[in-house]
C-alpha cells in the first residue's frame, strides 16, 4: 500500500473477485490466477465495511468506534491491510483528485 495514501482516497473491493463469508473468516478468489486469500476476523470486518466504496477517513472512523486501542495503531494497521490487498489486486484505491 502506498504509505502516501490520502485519507480522502476512496477504497473499493476490486471487481470480479468472488468471495465467501465463512463466519470467522472470509476467503476471496483472485480471478486472474485462481489464488485463494483468507482474511482473518479483522480483515473480514474491513471487507464487509467495504460493501460500498468509502474513503479511508470513513473507514478509520468506523473502525475506531469498533475497536478499542490507540487510534494511530488502528490507522496504521488498516493502512497496511489496505496496502496488501491493493497490491494483491483485491482492493482498488481511487486517488483523491479533490
Amino acid at each position: 500500500m502506498p504509505s502516501d495514501l490520502s485519507d480522502a482516497a476512496r477504497i473499493a473491493r476490486a471487481k470480479d473477485h468472488p468471495w465467501c463469508d465463512l463466519g470467522a473468516e472470509i476467503v476471496v478468489l483472485r480471478a486472474r490466477d485462481g489464488a485463494y486469500y483468507r482474511l482473518d476476523a479483522t480483515g473480514r470486518t474491513v471487507w464487509l465495511m467495504l460493501e460500498a466504496p468509502r474513503t479511508l477517513t470513513d473507514l478509520l472512523a468506523q473502525l475506531a468506534n469498533l475497536y478499542e486501542g490507540d487510534p494511530a495503531v488502528v490507522a496504521a494497521e488498516t493502512r497496511d491491510f489496505v496496502g496488501q490487498c491493493t497490491a494483491l489486486g483485491l482492493l482498488a484505491v481511487e486517488a483523491d483528485h479533490g
Partner: protein, 309 residues
Amino acid sequence: MRLSSLASLQSSWSAYGLRFAQEAGQDADVRLTFARVPIRLGESVLSSPRRDVAPGDWLLRLSDGSRIRARSGNRIEIDAPPSADGTGLAAWVLGPATTAILYQRGITPLHASAVEVNGGVVAFLAPSGTGKSSLAAAFVANGAPLVTDDVLAIRLGHAGTAHAWPGAEGLRLAPATRAHFSGAGFTLLRQDADDKQLIAAPTRVPEEPLPVRLLVLLARGGDLRIERIAGLDLLMSLRRLLQRPSLVAPLGAEAAVFRVLGWLAARVPTYRLVRPVGGWTLPACYTLVKECLATSPYQPTRQGSLHAV
C-alpha cells in the same frame, strides 16, 4: 472411415440434470457426434502428450489414434477408427469428457456418492477406494433413495442456492459389500473388470434438483471418529475433492467452482469421518452419520452468503 456410434451407450441418457444423445433428431443438452476432430487445439492453456485444454474446450488423444473433444458445454465429438474399442471410448465419454462438459456449463462435479434423506442430499466425499459407495449403499439398504455414485454434480440456482442433481444409474460395489446387503433388493447390472459390480438401487430420486443437507468427508487412518469441519480447512478439502481438479483453471471454471464450494462451506453442515485402515467398520460409520443427521438442523431454504463483487 470412422466410427459412427457407440453401441455400448444408449441412444440417449440423462444425468446431472442434462440430457445426452448420440442420435440426431433427439432433444439433447449434450450431443455426441462422430466427426473429424483436430489432433491439437489451436490455443491451449494446458497441453500434454495426451490432452489439450482451453477455456470451454477439451481434447483427449488415445493411443489407438482415437480423439474425443468436449466443447462449449454441449458437444462431445468422437473421431475414431471403426476398429476402436467402443467400450473404452464409452468410458472416456461417461467419465472425463462428461466432467469437462460439466465444468464448461458451470456445474461443479465432486468425488462423492449421495443419498436422499427427508428431501435433502447427504453426500459422502472421498477419493476412489475410500468407501463412499459402501456408505451410500448402507443408507440405500435402509430405504434412502440413491442420488448418485462417484460424481456429485452441484450448481447454483437463480436464488443463489446450491442444488445437487442425480447422476447416472447404479452403484459400484465390491462383491463383499454387495453380499453384506444381500437382502436389500440390489440388482446386478454389470460385472466390471476390476471385480466391482454395478448394482441398481431399489429406489432412486426423480431427475430433479435437491438441496444439499449434509456433507461427510471420508478419510482413512486413525481411530474411528467423526468431527465437524468448517472454514478454510473445509473449503480447501472440498477443492481437493473435485473431479479432475487440474481441469478447473484451464477450462476457465475457477470462479464458478469457487462459488459452489464457498456456498457449501458456508452453509452445509460438514463432518470428517475417519476410519482405521482395515477392519469392517461400515455399520459403525452408518450409525455415526445417522447421529450427525439427528443433530444437524436442516434448513434448505436459507440464503447463501456467497457474493460476487
